[in-house]
Subunit: 450 residues, 2 copies
């Protein structure tokens, strides 16, 4: 994961850079990263991915191997490749810290750097932040409906690749998941890992109860028995038998896991079976196609489930696997710029987002020019100056706390699982005025309107 990723870019970044270079365009450019619209049923986003971007920018460079590859395309001058060989990222980054809530149209991050540098990092910046925002937002929805029940990230086997698997573990932990099944994420991010047995473990034994007995012998303090391999209720009775044997040895069965069938009904039946054997303390863990919709449904129907393993649908954000995130040039030199393409509004110039509260509750945000006088809490911070980060890596637990604090004061209507209310986001007077003036000037110049 630590390979050089400077070529993790769309090819047009290089053709544009070559044209900027040949035309001697080195003025500072500001690019703004934002999401154009909410995916279905989303009413907020969770900021995540900044740490990865800062690490990338701070070490941005091209290796000789990278340059050799670019040479093979036959499109770039020796002089330009020489220039790339010395290139570092020397710009400033202004961003919303990880764990905070934000809304559509708001700049999540703005890069100001000589245009070639700011352009070449586009693809990586969008990719990293789009992925983690998508996943953290999906995970936050799961946490919201679970009402305090424990959630575990079980998605690794079907995430879209290794990198996504790591990011799911990280983003879901930020959003409030208790742990992950992903061992590499445990090692790299210090997230607690969890997991006990699969069906293969049960089927590898002649009889199901042999599998249970063998497992609790190896892990007397950590056994969650998977009971649906052949039949959930029959499995529950065998788990009870093993649980009683453990009690007699002074051990305690931690839990049972259901992985198929009607989770509401089965969990109620299993609870009865456990209670009847004086094993009411044994946790009931459920997995299998859970996402925020299914968790919510099972809880509403009174399912007796203490913890959920949340897998694929969360891990790929199945109902909204991407956001409409864009990284757009908003200022070149001193000139505010925008495009007019149908349905794709860009807000000009360097900006700030101001968060307004009533008591502790969030009431609205205002997008303003960065140097405009305005009330409210400014939520973008300077996180990198002249290519050096001044936001040091933050402990994940701190980011997780930041999310919890802010999510708590976001109104229920904006968090609704379906058709949430739209949070009010306004443009400041200064931004409104500059935006209108720029649109007018561009239309006049390019379309001959007056």
């Amino acid at each position: 994961m630590k390979n050089n990723l400077a070529l993790m870019a769309d090819f047009y970044e290089f053709t544009m850079a070559a044209a900027y270079y040949q035309n001697r365009m080195f003025a500072p450019a500001t690019f703004s990263l934002f999401i154009r619209d909410y995916p279905p049923h989303r009413g907020y986003f969770v900021s995540a991915g900044l740490e990865e971007v800062l690490e990338f920018l701070e070490s941005f460079h091209f290796t000789q191997e990278d340059l050799d590859y670019l040479t093979t395309t036959g499109l770039f001058s020796e002089e330009f490749l020489q220039y790339l060989s010395r290139l570092k990222f020397t710009g400033n980054v202004f961003a919303i810290p990880e764990g905070r809530i934000f809304f559509k149209d708001e700049p999540i991050l703005e890069v100001t750097a000589p245009i070639i540098e700011a352009q070449l990092v586009e693809t990586f910046v969008i990719n990293a932040i789009n992925l983690q925002v998508t996943l953290a937002t999906k995970a936050a929805r799961c946490v919201y409906v679970s009402r305090g029940r424990k959630l575990v990230d079980f998605s690794l086997r079907r995430t879209q690749g290794v990198d996504a698997g790591l990011k799911v573990a990280r983003a879901s932990f930020v959003a409030g998941f208790a742990s992950t099944s992903n061992v590499l994420a445990g090692k790299l991010y210090g997230i607690p890992v969890a997991g006990t047995m699969a069906h293969s473990f049960v089927t590898s034994f002649e009889e199901e109860i042999d599998a249970f007995r063998t497992f609790v012998r190896t892990f007397p303090g950590n056994a969650v028995l998977l009971i649906d391999t052949y039949d959930t209720l029959s499995g529950a009775h065998k788990a009870v038998k093993v649980g009683r044997e453990m009690l007699n040895r002074g051990e305690r069965l931690l839990g049972v896991r259901l992985d198929s069938g009607d989770m509401t009904d089965l969990s109620k039946e299993v609870r009865k079976i456990l209670k009847a054997a004086d094993l009411g303390e044994v946790s009931i863990f459920a997995s299998g196609a859970f996402d925020e919709y299914k968790i919510s449904e099972v809880i509403e129907k009174g399912g007796e489930i203490d913890a959920f393993g949340v897998g694929t649908k969360m891990g790929v954000s199945a109902d909204a696997p991407y956001t409409d995130m864009a990284y757009k040039l908003v200022q070149y030199g001193r000139r505010p710029v925008l495009k007019l393409s149908t349905g794709k509004r860009t807000l000009v110039a360097e900006k700030q987002v101001l968060r307004i509260r009533e008591g502790s509750n969030l009431t609205k945000d205002i997008i303003a020019l960065r140097d405009e006088k305005a009330v409210g809490e400014p939520i973008l911070k300077t996180v990198m100056e002249n290519g050096k980060r001044n936001l040091l890596p933050e402990p994940l637990a701190a980011i997780r706390d930041r999310f919890q604090q802010e999510f708590m004061v976001l109104g229920e209507a904006y968090k609704s699982l379906e058709n949430p209310k739209t949070f009010p986001v306004e443009l400041s007077p200064g931004l409104t005025e500059l935006q209108e003036r720029t649109v007018h000037e561009v239309r006049e110049k390019e379309l001959g309107e007056s």
Copy 2:
């Protein structure tokens, strides 16, 4: 991307392995990888991802750092960790080569190895093959509807991470895409790269036409001008002006790109503008939210588009971002095994898939026991024996050809974009008999049925 990924596994693989170890279970186990059902509107899958799995298995090992991390969980004995420190993958792999078509329930890959080895590699095997199959299948759908028009992978900025970005480029090339915007994929896989300019390039200039003139000066032989920054038709007229200037210099404008608005109408208008200026040869390239559905619609409505940039929706397989792929124990020692969990059928034992044709057309597949006598072409091959691969890395072009050959002889009804016909897949007499016998024995033993 070359880091050690042995910990890219669900934690339960390790707890199970520790229990197998403590119980001295080292017999060979066969796990079968298959897809339980078709995602919406899918009627076939494209095999992809095997190369990555073979590379992983061949170099499978734990580093001291990995073992140190496992030690911190406090759950594993020193003896077991010592065992892991010496562990290699020594098993056999039997698989469908990349580029071939396969169907639900069919084993894509079967691993036979001492149970601890076969178990520990589960997560990586599913993750790698699920992702590439998902993406290659999505890309094949795009290629199918494009009827010979050129497709370019434009998805990198919103793929689910770096790893997915590389795999999209690879899988879409296998399925017939012409090129990718992903420069790193170009370097690593030798896929042709493509791309010219973004809106930021246009807006960084005082006037749109300056941007066009500057770009063609740097790339006189490779210029595709993006014309929708302010207004597509006004942009087309400026591109025509620059195209004529190029002609006067003996150069040729390669193309224009549309990225917003109604692609059908705009492309027809732009073609007229180009023809009226004797620039009818200039290609019209379109991008913006294309997938197989939108490509199909635009072509049916007579859009004048020569090539499509296909982005996010293909890159995350937005309408079906995962498959229901599972890796199940089907044999332990000499004993065929299965689970009975509701709605999750597993086919027992080591298997083969036989492909039956009429002339060259595919007519049906038969899933059989691996050693069963049967007619038809066996499509799984031995690709690894005793931990050594005997399928060497194949050139991507060969895999791409293999796909084209087979896709050509798959009936149209199975390729339909919506509600495709289900391809007939039968079970052989030998497999049917063993399956029924095993189900019966398991029900008798575990559920007390007779």
